[in-house]
């Protein structure tokens, strides 16, 4: 997948990460969002059986969007780790936040809910992976 041209316009800086570098740490606070320009990123979740990979994202995918769009706090609920060398574009968080806040209530509710579902199914998937080991 290539990066959408509209998304490119939000990029304020590029950051490179080497293999296995931690891009986002579960439990930390932050709501900035990246788009993957090159490479792959593993999404990991802490479980009773250790750190577990639940998904792998690639070029054009967003990383860190969950903390920005959910209601309430902006604690990271998953870790993002470079899978090989990665180049990320950091999106303009002020512009994103303003545009998000300007959305009608029902739209915000629907998308926040979607993000919450994503969070829950991620947790469930991690639990199931551990249980199946």
């Amino acid at each position: 997948m290539t990066v959408n041209s509209q998304v490119l316009m939000y990029i304020v800086s590029e950051e490179s990460f080497s293999d296995k570098a931690v891009i986002i740490k579960e439990g930390s606070i932050g709501d900035w969002v990246y788009v993957i320009l090159e490479g792959r990123v593993k999404i990991k979740k802490q479980t009773s059986g250790g750190l577990l990979t639940v998904d792998t994202l690639s070029e054009g995918d967003f990383v860190g969007e969950m903390a920005m769009l959910k209601q309430g706090n902006s604690t990271r609920t998953v870790s993002a780790v470079a899978d090989g060398p990665v180049v990320l574009g950091l999106l303009d968080s002020v512009r994103l936040a303003q545009e998000w806040e300007a959305q009608p209530t029902r739209i915000k509710k629907v998308i926040s809910n979607l993000i919450q579902n994503l969070e829950e199914v991620t947790k469930k998937a991690a639990d199931m992976i551990i249980a199946s080991k």
Binding site: N4, Q6, V7, Y10, V33, V54, D55, D61, F62, E65, M66, L69, L91, L96, E99, W100, Q103, P104, R106, I107, K109, V110, I111, N113, L114, I115, Q116, N117, L118, E120, V121, T122, K124, A125, M128, I129, A131, S132
Partner: protein, 259 residues
Amino acid sequence: MTKNKEKIPPVVKLNYSKGDLIIKAGDYGKSIYEIISGKVGIFVESGGAETRVAILGPGMIVGEMAFISGNTGTRSASARALEDCWLEVWHPAILLNDYKKMPDVLRLIAGQALKIIVRMNKMVVELSLKQGKHKDRQTQKLSDQWADKRKLYRKMVSLKCVFRPANSPEELKIRGIIRDVSMGGLRITVDRLGFRNYIPIPGDELFVSTYFESNQKVNMTGKVVWLKKGGTDGTISLGMAFTQMDPDDRKSLGFFLMT
């Protein structure tokens, strides 16, 4: 004649009873529901079994995935009322204009979230089906009990019965035929059409009613310990271990087995 075709339909509130199906997977529909009160379970079906992937409560949204996916609008999961619920229904037209006006980047982010949810749901269902083969400990124990007790006298019969999941509304009736019965449990066959609305999985508790004599109704509650697909006709057999029976019903069963 009204020419208000573009008029956005009003928001309506609907009441659902425990066990009611709110959304059926595969159906067309893009309405979005907000839970006002009660709890709703989200179920994904795969390989003939339903797996619950989420429980949603007041303030949460149901049915947004078909809206966001846009194109076909078929429901990817079923939603069922786990208790009596009030839901507010939003016609998709209420949201569509706003959604279209949203900056591309936000829409792309929502699209990615949707894609990952679908992927993860699939993974959860696959894993739970795999684990279903290793029964949970309680079901395993019941299964052993069932095998033990069934070593006792087992009577071959052909008795019409109706059954339903123990926690479902009474209106739900599945018809089957009891093929054999003992003090420990029974075996029922159901033709495939009988399972249009509900497919049991091992561990499910069922409530079964039948008549041993023409006027003697007997109720039995038990857990499903195994399921087997029959021959080419699609008949499904299920074995059930009793978990609960009224003393009178137990007595009736005892007499029935002796005669």
